[in-house]
Symmetry: D2
Subunit: 480 residues, 4 copies
């Protein structure tokens, strides 16, 4: 029996290839499927089964793509209704070679159609499971989101509690965990950075699992999660089956002429360079989406109808961006600027700068503003992610972190708008002064800065280091 | 200006990417086009032009594939008539960036539609050519074949003479040569192993260029070339435009059950392992086509209608075989046997051996046969590639080299049938004795041995080392 | 916290890199250390700690090499005495970044100095271990060998029992296992092919762990293990510290002249090609050691004092052989024959063949011999690995598997000598008839065949498929 | 015969591997020799000869390193005296296999010991050369520098004229050129970007070759070249033989603590990120040396005695920097900051910014200054690379290009100091105003900006796009 993990950075998505004796199953494949075919070759197996643990919201599942190349059958929880897959439910088992047996366990909660797959090594034991693929039901250090059914949050949280306590935990302390996401995923917020665990270790270390049903449901119902706009498209594609691509697109190098023309005609420009470089100089109107944030944030801001142009520090950066975008079905990739920003600058085209200010400067300005105003700006304290406009127009510190981050620790006087909500809440940002964007480290803050610039804000800065630097510098914080 | 060569081993095919200032042209692309896209990325250029120097017979040109991925325009000699390309002729010039100018020179002879492309670096000189892409008109150490127009050999050889002496040589001694094939190609037989030359060096070292027209035409008319059956299909595809593949096929690993079933149902099995391994043990009915001979010989033996199964020593060998086959439009790749020959052997399936005999053994048997027969077997001496059957049935040394190799030096008493002709000439091989196949080194001889085995010949051996070993051993040779 | 496994095929050796917050530890590094440095770069950590779980017998540990390049400190169980390491024992703990704590657990038995390292993720739980690096104490599906202390086997088996039952199993069912070897290692014979497990799963599936102390010790004392001669050298190097190499040797291509000269002067020639190719044709005197068997068997046959020559089917094969040899301190790599066997054959040098016979042929000969002899050859039935010579000189089936394999199932009439013992027991092999070597699949049998050929045996064959084929063919077996 | 080129970016150094029949020669190897060993493996040859075309000033030649690994003999022009090499001179010839003959041609001028190697393919012609390795005597589009012998410039320029006209050009128009440097090298200033040429093409396109002796010598004597300080060290190492490294250093990841400590203790910090990122934010005291400029400029600024720290945008950037530094003998590589600038920023350590200003802003300031001053700043017009200080202290446009670039086209009012001379000429830069650094594109200008910052200048900016942008914007220029 072999088991290999294919990790998709950015989405923090984990898929698995498990096989024996010449055949293999892939669990939750991504859309760029070469990695699975490579493993199949290395292991000399034919991919015969594809399992989807649930209908995903955050990426296009690659089942159709992989089935088209391998002839494998796709299996999905029966509760999802009929589609390109074959429905499965509790008790359905599948055998691969002489050792692998995978048995379906319905584990609804995150979604109604969620299944887990219990792994037996029948060459060692017929009835003792050795591992379980838990999809988005149980993560390492966290459990799945339960906010995808409006108005039914209490109901599905209870479902998840049952799935955990009646299906997964009873498998035994010794059972290894193989979830569909790791740390950094938007499908949970408290996942461990550690990529290995067992049911017994989770029971001992993850307090969510020792909570009573009541506590558990209360916590799940009160959790705040964001839902980027592209989730709707993913759900539809993953229900109906995404079109087969055949090969990844390879956006071509474009000269300044073609590139400029596409920009003028309305193409959206994604700058995947490091935020520090973006701050140094960038093309007006471009969106800062560095590679590590591309998967997590493109879906809030990019339009599926308009062509996408790319700007990278190197061609390699551009190449790395392609699968990240394709996984979210952004396939209209019109090209990248040959020679990068240098080409643009050498042609004397207009440039924008977003000064990267030190946290000491932020602190000084906040102090000055407070002195001038006589009293502090009131931070938003309501449950909703709203923000009262600052009373002074001279300076705005715009904290774009998630609401839970903001609530747990923040600089006094910061205005909070989540970066993903910014396009809809531009009117809440004062136009008449300097704005410093702020997040955990300065990366998401650069996305926000680029959005503000695009929206016509003029004096926009980014606080490099942001909350991390503020903590290091010992700045005074407040929290809910 | 950059210039990169993409070499396709086996076909000894050379294609080129040349570009400047953000755009590039590809000359004679192969069908697996990733190499060109990679170069385009490395150089940050967009592929805008594709040139075909002529309609090729030996491989599927990748113009359609590359145009589909890049939007580039395809150019081809006007004489080929209308098709998916744009016709060009003498004097048409194309500019890329600030330095590259490519001008068309009609150089018919090898084919009627052959063109060369003269390269200028206009940043250094407007009117002095620096290089020339000669297609199959002029090679390093050789010139193109003139046997593709039955009954018009004299005419096209004269055409080629004119193309050389009126078009190419006058470009000047200093002009560098970039031909479409290198040593080992079936498109010529005397090419140098050296991959660089100039017109001046060719004039001084290649006697074909110093010959009078009369001598030249005589030599070209008398040259013998083989035309594998697949040439017809290539011509048709290259005239009409080959279908776009999108991505290379990835034949899957097959278990013994599926593999065996496909074999029974008539699939053709290609064994790409080294000839020595094939001799050690192989699957009855399989065809020995080691990787380095696959491109040169598959087209004689493989059927386009039947699925192809592959057997390799490693999965990597199988992978390497795929583009070689696809370049000749063999795309029905049903899979490979997982675990290779070992899987077959462990199941106690039937095996065949082809003993690899030493040249000393060959010599002893030939001597014995001669003594028994009283007089030597008469070697074929007619111009046609025919062979008189040996007078003794006890032993046959079957020389499967090209007729020109055979004529220039051979072991006395050998029966000559070119390996490519063997399937059609099996009746000329004595069935009632031992046969030792023989070539230059023992590699083509193994193809022949596998063909004989498949045709039911029982006592088949291969002379490892063949002519090379015979020469080293100082065996007596004869020649025409 | 990150954890990466570096697998050394052949030795089935597993080493680990674990780290957090900029530093990392390597557990049981191999001598070719680039893999660790690459992981350190990918993870942006500095390797600060090196742990040796015990003094290894089967390979040169890379601690000195890695320490020389990184400045890391080496730690080793205190019981090993003083050397280049720092001694550690029960209760010693090491912290890396904010999450990794590794605590030493003395687990003697396999060796007296064996330690395990218990892993805590202190960012989740201060006192619940999540995994344990068990060295050669506890494997997945097996436990360590206890045959390294002559005369003390009972004592050390009891020690191991204590280590398991008082140290490792009490860590808890939920604890993940990270042993130093996987399936295929000579450090155990029953390891699972599965590369992941937990203490709880082992307790439920590995009967060795549920045995009583008495049963356990009895089984361990009665186990048969082989000890290749090179083990002594490994022990010495690993106790004293192996010399630092700096870079892997790169044996050069050699022309026939130099290669032949070295052979004449006594160099040992290792042929790493596939056994089937070796059977087809090989150089007289060479040793068949295909890549996957090189690590397991070179140490029985190769002399440290004589230069080693390599023959591969490709240069890539030769390159792959290098680290495998260096890990066992075979560093006198004089070169490889450029062009491989073909170069040799083309020069008409002498060749040998080892016919690969089908199991049906073996069966026929055995039957014939039995009929001729009137009664069956008596298989060796004593506990010692001795063999009574066959009563007939006409035919010998030489079974070279391990004694435990031989005892559990064999063809009737086979002579048993373990491949590793063959050089010392050549006198037990009848010289006057045909010998067919036999093993599990035909691979080790080819090593044996090459040894016999080198020793002057003339009629040597190999049964391709061997026991696997015999089983598939339904041949009659016997067992102890 | 095969010929492969190994290109060292940055130095624009070209080395060659040429071989046949199992042996090969390397011409002018670099110090990181893996590339040659890889080619030797691919071609299955043993490297037997190493040729040095001359004693290099700009990099450490890898002959000793390569000889130590391969046992090859090193050859060098006899005129260099005795050292680790074997001296050769006019008429000495070397044969490799059946086709390669290399004959020495003494071609002094660039250095007194310069030789060229004339290449014959004796399988085609015994006496017609096909190519020539010209070292630094003749480049594509240029000839070698003649400024290395103070006071003897006229003499050596005449020597070079003779070498060209009596040795190299007479080889014939048809001979291909293989020089030791390509475009971008400091060993010439007018080299073509094209990497292929012939003697005949050079004669027709390179005016230096059609000049009379008088014109030629005059031009060579008047040429201006810079000599970075590290040249002296290279000369010494290349005369005496550089120490053998064995393997490239692998600087480790460092946490902030160790990194900061080394900085405090005087280590020099090289920031290899893109200039735009450096402008965005950087560590005070660091030197901007992006990867593509590292080879060309490190030798002006880095101290051999102090440890070097690296800062990259990615670990991959750091890795790429290592061979570039080692080639110039910068081997004291103490490590790189794990996590890059982000680690620094998150700890709230001090940061510096260098605003990247648009050429329009530069133009406005220059105009304003002129209006204020009443008259233009006088540009330096003397032959020496001196600059008169600007008459106004309000604003300095500091042009750091080479003097020849500056002379041929510049913005009016710019102060010129070559970037390599800046550390010695800091007193010539006005301290009391804003300084905008300026070059061809803004890259070298960022090196200059970082030098100024390090020297305590406060208001330093960089003109992104620089001369290219100024030209595109149609700004008014002046020239000598």
């Amino acid at each position: 029996m072999f088991l290999e993990t294919v990790k998709s950075e950015g989405l923090s998505h984990l898929s698995y290839v498990i096989g024996d004796g010449g055949t293999a199953a892939v669990i939750d494949p991504r859309r760029d499927i070469e990695a699975y075919l490579d493993i199949a070759d290395q292991q000399s197996v034919r991919i015969s089964h594809i399992f989807e643990t649930h209908r995903n919201e955050d990426y296009v599942i690659g089942s159709q793509e992989l089935a088209a190349r391998t002839g494998a059958t796709v299996y999905h929880g029966r509760a999802a209704g009929a589609s390109y897959w074959q429905g499965v439910g509790d008790g359905d088992c599948f055998t691969l070679g002489k050792s692998v047996r995978l048995c379906v366990l319905e584990t609804p909660g995150h979604t109604l159609d969620s299944i887990s797959l219990v792994l037996y090594d029948v060459s060692w034991s017929e009835d003792t499971p050795v591992g379980v693929f838990t999809g988005d039901a149980l993560f390492i250090g966290d459990v799945g989101r339960t906010d995808f059914y409006p108005g039914r949050r209490d109901e599905v949280s209870n479902m998840l509690y049952d799935s955990l306590h009646e299906k997964l935990l009873p498998l035994g302390d010794h059972v290894l965990l193989y979830p569909a996401h790791g740390a950094g995923s938007v499908c949970g917020s408290g996942m461990a950075k550690r990529e290995f665990s067992s049911i017994g270790y989770e029971l001992r270390s993850n307090s969510l699992l020792s909570n009573s049903r009541q506590e558990f449901v209360k916590q799940k119902v009160n959790e705040h999660h964001y839902q980027p706009g592209y989730f709707r498209r993913m759900e539809k594609l993953n229900q109906e089956g995404a079109p087969v691509l055949g090969a990844l697109p390879r956006p071509p190098a474009l000269g300044l002429g073609r590139f400029g023309k596409l920009l003028e005609d309305g193409a959206q420009l994604v700058d995947v360079r490091e935020p520090v470089a973006y701050g140094g100089a960038s093309i007006p109107g471009s969106l800062s989406l560095p590679l590590d944030l591309l998967a997590g944030f493109a879906g809030y801001f990019l339009d599926y109808e308009k062509p996408i142009l790319l700007l990278g520090a190197t061609v390699d950066q551009v190449r790395q961006a392609v699968p990240l975008l394709v996984r979210m079905d952004y396939v209209k990739l019109a090209g990248y600027l040959a020679g990068g920003l240098s080409t643009w600058a050498k042609a004397a085209r207009p440039l924008q700068r977003i000064p990267l200010v030190h946290v000491d400067e932020v602190q000084q300005r906040l102090s000055r503003r407070q002195q001038e105003a006589g009293e502090p700006v009131t931070a938003d304290t309501t449950l909703a992610d709203s923000a009262s406009a600052p009373s002074s127009d001279a300076y705005t510190l715009l904290d774009v972190r998630r609401i839970d981050e903001y609530r747990s620790k923040r600089l006094r006087g910061a205005l909070h708008i989540y970066v993903g909500d910014l396009p809809e809440r531009l009117d809440d940002v004062p136009r008449n002064g300097t704005i410093t964007t702020f997040c955990g480290s300065g990366r998401r803050a650069m996305i926000a800065a680029s959005l503000l610039k695009r929206a016509g804000f003029e004096r926009v800065e980014n606080n490099l280091g942001s909350m991390s630097a503020a903590s290091s510098a010992g700045l005074q914080m407040e929290s809910d």
